[in-house]
Subunit: 355 residues, 2 copies
DNA sequence: CTGAAAGCGCTTACAG
DNA sequence: CTGAAAGCGCTTACAG
């Protein structure tokens, strides 16, 4: 019932090799021949069988999304981004969540890639940071692109989201509002993005002459609960900060809840900002000031690179944009500290609270 | 480099047909032969090529998750559930989000299934409600299982989450707390689960002798914003309800935000409950009382059914549990109405507020 | 219980 | 610019 290459060849009066050339946009087909074949293809709504194609050419036309990330909207957004770009090109997406804690992750992923002959892999953070996984993929000559917060690979293999730059905007925002006693809740030490956000925030504050002492740095784990605990610790200190930046939204939500329980009004008593722009960031009161990573866009760009790599065109892959600066999203959880008066024109140059 | 069926056959001293029998657990292989073959398979870590297998047998060993649902955690949880069950059996999962609003959805999905020779499809709500899609799948003899809130298909093809029963528990809870002036925010009319939740809630209230007049029913759209608007409308009425049940968490979040803005304390001035137990339901203050759908479990059970269907064993597929009652999760957003005293023992039988 | 032959629907590697 | 042959790694349909 489904048309095959033989049907097309017969009806177009050519060999199946010629049909194959048309399908694959290869050269060396006469214009007239090509048109004739294409017409038959269109008429029968023929599309080549990916299995047969793959079996013969050792491909699968399958991309894989490999991740170990608890953030549901990050995953689904990335998926949309990948599909936006790969579907029109005839590739489909297989999902492969896994557990970094599992010692056999690398083997598991390589097995999976090998078994399905996956043409290309998109690695989401934090798994994208795994050197051994990438080494394994390279060794078996599997194409990959990593979503990463630092430039740790060639441009052809990376989409970098510049957390440092993004976080600096948050710091600038805090300072512009008049905050100088600023608290920070850090992500897990194992995460690159967590240290990027930390470094970026600290550096930006320093540029404004503002200190970030260890007494105002809480260790978190990117979880809601760790945000709660971090906030309790910070707000119970002798001189509680007037603003807290949590390294992700999840923790920022924890900060807001903890603050409320402790009697701090957000934002009048306490400014709070997060990072991720998760769907729920705008669905609380006050709506959370945060940073949007543009995950869908990243997924799309990563796929563009990946498909070039699948075509063995490393140059084109490298030429696709490989750096994205996340977007600062100001909402209602940030405000000047209580009693602070803003002096026009002084904001950035010499704020009254500067040392 | 990768071992093939020919390698195994040669090393085991049998024909490849025999190896094939071992791989597929077919009968008619001598015990000794089987063991010998298996040993070689294990030794070479051989696993059959799904493409070759599929090409010859017209299968793909690919399952598809087809959905049109904005709820990210629903998607990812379902994915985990599916993978929990299908990976050990050698099946992988392709994701296929689509848009119900698009007129060509059905064709798009059928095309996709046909092109990839998808062995089985799992349909998530609300797309699972599409009769034309299911008809199309049936017509092309593609296996499917639907996650649905009503029993609208044979047991072999459905996992039903009993929203009616779940919602009744919420109603009982409201009544037990002492509420009688209760508001309801409805989901979109096009959604089956929305009307199930409505019917279930109304029925349960009626059983307690409590009325749910149209003046206390707001039309929502399962979105945050519609929850905000619904709450504003309900709370601005002459006799605002003391409790609001929103048909999903998203809207319940909207209710809480709106209530706060309008000066209502939750739960002391206003009890709020939602439905879905989204990850953020527990990450706000007060934490949201809600209902957990057990999506991961549903995904797993659906896959169990689906794989039986793939094996042409409709009986076994039908015998897999096909009804799940969502779990009521009590948190902090529900409380007795202000000034209400509970009379022991009177709760269910003849509550003081009963007509 | 076991196997030889043919074929699934394509592509590769050649030849012309 | 075009095509005939062989083969990708399995299963089906048959034979014994």
């Amino acid at each position: 019932m489904k048309a095959t290459i033989n049907d097309i060849a017969r009806l177009a009066g050519v060999s199946k090799k010629t049909v194959s050339r048309v399908i694959n946009n290869e050269s060396n087909v006469g214009t007239a021949t090509r048109e004739r074949v294409q017409k038959v293809i269109d008429k029968l709504k023929y599309s080549p069988d990916p299995q047969a194609r793959g079996l013969a050419s050792r491909r699968s036309f399958l991309l894989a999304l490999v991740y170990d990330n608890p953030n549901a909207s990050f995953i689904t957004e990335a998926m949309y981004g990948v599909l936006d770009h790969c579907r029109p090109k005839g590739y489909e997406l297989v999902v492969h969540p896994c557990e970094v804690t599992n010692e056999r992750v690398v083997d598991d992923v390589l097995d999976f890639v090998n078994r399905l002959k996956i043409d290309g892999v998109i690695l989401l953070p934090p798994l994208s940071e795994s050197g051994s996984l990438v080494a394994g993929l390279k060794a078996m000559d599997c194409n990959y692109v990593r979503l990463l917060s630092v430039v740790e690979d060639e441009p052809a293999h990376i989409i970098r989201f510049n957390d440092r730059a993004a976080v600096a905007v948050v710091a600038d925002h805090f300072v512009a509002l008049g905050h100088s006693n600023i608290g920070f809740i850090q992500g897990p030490e194992t995460s690159q993005s967590a240290s990027e956000r930390y470094e970026g925030f600290r550096t930006a504050l320093t540029a404004h002459g503002i200190d970030l002492p260890v007494s105002r740095i809480a260790k978190g784990a990117y979880t809601f609960q760790s945000g709660v605990e971090g906030a309790e610790w910070l707000l119970n200190s002798p001189e509680p900060p007037t603003a807290i930046f949590a390294s992700n939204d999840e923790m920022a939500m924890g900060v807001i809840v903890a603050a409320k329980k402790m009697g701090f009004q957000v934002p009048s008593d306490l400014t709070v900002a997060g990072f991720d722009d998760s769907p729920h960031a705008s669905e609380i009161w006050p709506a959370l000031t945060t940073v949007n990573l543009q995950v869908r866009r990243m997924g799309s760009l990563a796929t563009e690179k990946l498909l070039y790599l699948c075509d063995r065109d490393a140059d084109k892959a490298a030429s696709v944009q490989h750096e994205l600066t996340p977007k600062f999203i100001q909402r209602q959880s940030t405000a000047p500290p209580r009693g602070y008066k803003q002096h026009k024109g002084q904001r950035k140059t010499s704020p009254p609270y500067a040392v």
